[in-house]
Symmetry: C2
């Protein structure tokens, strides 16, 4: 690892916000530098609580996260916030802009806020988010909030990065409840009905409770609570934090299981990327991949048969080092 990256890693482990910001930019870009950063900081990670916050636009997610940050800070704990916008593929790194968000926390070294979007595929954004979480975790933040805009498939994938997911809705949000019905139920560990002073708050709570009632929970399982908040003045937010702490205190097994699933997916992806590269660059004869692909493009060979042929060639031509031949 070059000296510059070693300094960067040291900066992250010291909690230096500039080193954290620079490292997150590197993991967004993926590549060798990202690998160096994660290799350098990973062993200091695994201590933070990872909280996903999702919900339809307009329900007040950002205000809720803002208030939650204030409440967490009052406890003396530190918070990193990643605001992810998977619906904004080409905006290139900023949702609402870090400047306009969370202005109340400017100058507080215990709060770090960063927006992330993607220029490439969604899988890339989900992986970059996972690595950014490792950076914030290693930098010592106690709570890491992963806020996603919307309630679609993209958010579901990103929510897999979290230990616990809070789904935010509001009274009369036809859309919000529709989305819940469509299945965001399955990712929620906690529901928050924000703007609880609006008409219909109790009805929204009752609707969610009814939907939860249709689900068969094991006696010992966590049944997602439904809380009401008014993020604009902070009403109900301390209770949200208490519930998060309660979940994390008892949710050890489930949190551990999700962490394993998440790390397994990450390792698998890295392995398959690396194997593919090995096959194309070393195991296959030069040009073999392109020749087989030509046949697929010409509709002479289907993609499945092509893939089988490539794997057959790759596996049969990989030469073992002399000392490991065992057959």
């Amino acid at each position: 690892m070059i000296a510059d990256r070693r300094r960067l890693v040291a900066g992250v482990l010291d909690g230096d916000p500039r080193a954290v910001a620079r490292s997150i930019s590197l993991v967004e870009a993926e590549g060798a530098a990202a690998a160096d950063v994660i290799k350098g900081v990973f062993r200091q990670s695994g201590r933070a609580t990872l909280l996903g916050v999702t919900g339809a636009p307009g329900v007040g997610k950002s205000s809720l996260v803002d208030r939650l940050v204030t409440t967490v800070r009052r406890d003396g704990r530190t918070v990193g916030v990643l605001a992810i916008d998977p619906t904004s593929p080409f905006s290139g790194g900023a949702v609402l802009g870090d400047r306009v968000r969370m202005q109340t926390h400017t100058g507080d070294a215990g709060v770090f806020v960063r927006s992330m979007a993607t220029r490439g595929e969604l899988g890339g954004l989900a992986r970059a988010t996972g690595d950014a979480v490792v950076v914030l975790d290693a930098a010592g933040f106690d709570l890491i909030v992963i806020e996603t805009v919307g309630v679609g498939q993209a958010e579901v994938e990103i929510s897999r990065t979290a230990d616990m997911t809070v789904v935010v809705t509001m009274p009369g949000a036809g859309d919000g409840v529709q989305a819940l019905k469509a299945g965001v139920m399955e990712i929620a560990d906690l529901f928050v009905v924000n703007k609880a002073d609006h008409d219909g708050a109790d009805r929204a709570v009752a609707e969610i409770q009814t939907m939860l009632g249709l689900h068969a929970y094991q006696p010992e399982a966590w049944r997602p609570p439904v809380l009401q908040t008014r993020a604009i003045d902070g009403t109900g937010v301390p209770e949200v934090l208490r519930m998060i702490d309660a979940y994390c205190a008892r949710g050890g097994t489930e949190v551990g299981r999700r962490r394993r699933v998440r790390l397994e997916a990450r390792v698998r992806h890295l392995v398959s990327e690396s194997l593919l590269q090995h096959v194309e660059q070393q195991a296959l004869e030069p040009g073999a991949f392109a020749r087989i692909l030509d046949q697929v493009v010409a509709t002479e060979v289907d993609p499945y048969t092509a893939a089988e042929e490539i794997v057959r060639q790759a596996v049969s031509t990989t030469s073992p080092p002399a000392d490991t031949v065992s057959s």
Copy 2:
């Protein structure tokens, strides 16, 4: 291939709608049956025009597609429509329900309509869509419309399945134009301002033209036209079809390039899946993957180093068949 699947493949090639529907269900589920179907039909594919249609909810995409189908049928050409909803992860296979969509075409054997959603990850939906297109193509449909709901990252990924992408918007759709600004510009080959009888239609066209003006097109490049329609009574729809045909007539190189990119991604994905399976089941010692993963979960080894170790073990223990040792 078992006899049942051979009959299914023959049914698809005959254009039998039940065989087509059953095959699409198989590719949605992925797995061995999907591979058999695609292997069986792929060589008869590659003839259809693949049209992506996307745009924010409410702009009238479905009505436009409905009218387009009518117009295409009047020409004597056949159409398959795949309605994809990536925002509905758990609805399990139906967006608006095939029953309520496209009722005007019920009983017309030249039209096939199918909704697709996902229960798993988005990548899986994009792959299933790609395979469903192959099935419809091999079944002989001349035009295949891939309609996606929304304008987010998910739609961008699915739009990669198409030869040509139509972005639909409407006058005064603040959201629509915002979304365009955010970058859907980059995937559009044709813009349609629907509900062109509403106030502000000319302004919407002018705004899109202005945005296109900021983009440096090569002299010989296709500059996305901007058309106006009123899908509810069909106004402007024949012109949309003419433009699609014009694009496909001249767009040979670009269409061919996209097809190659798409097939290359498909083959690569199949190769990496198969390599990963080979490594876990044959190349590594039993339990080796799980042991390395345990170390990652315990934060003793980072995911990048773990992946390198797995690939090193896999590559060094793969034994070549005797007749191919060449080193």
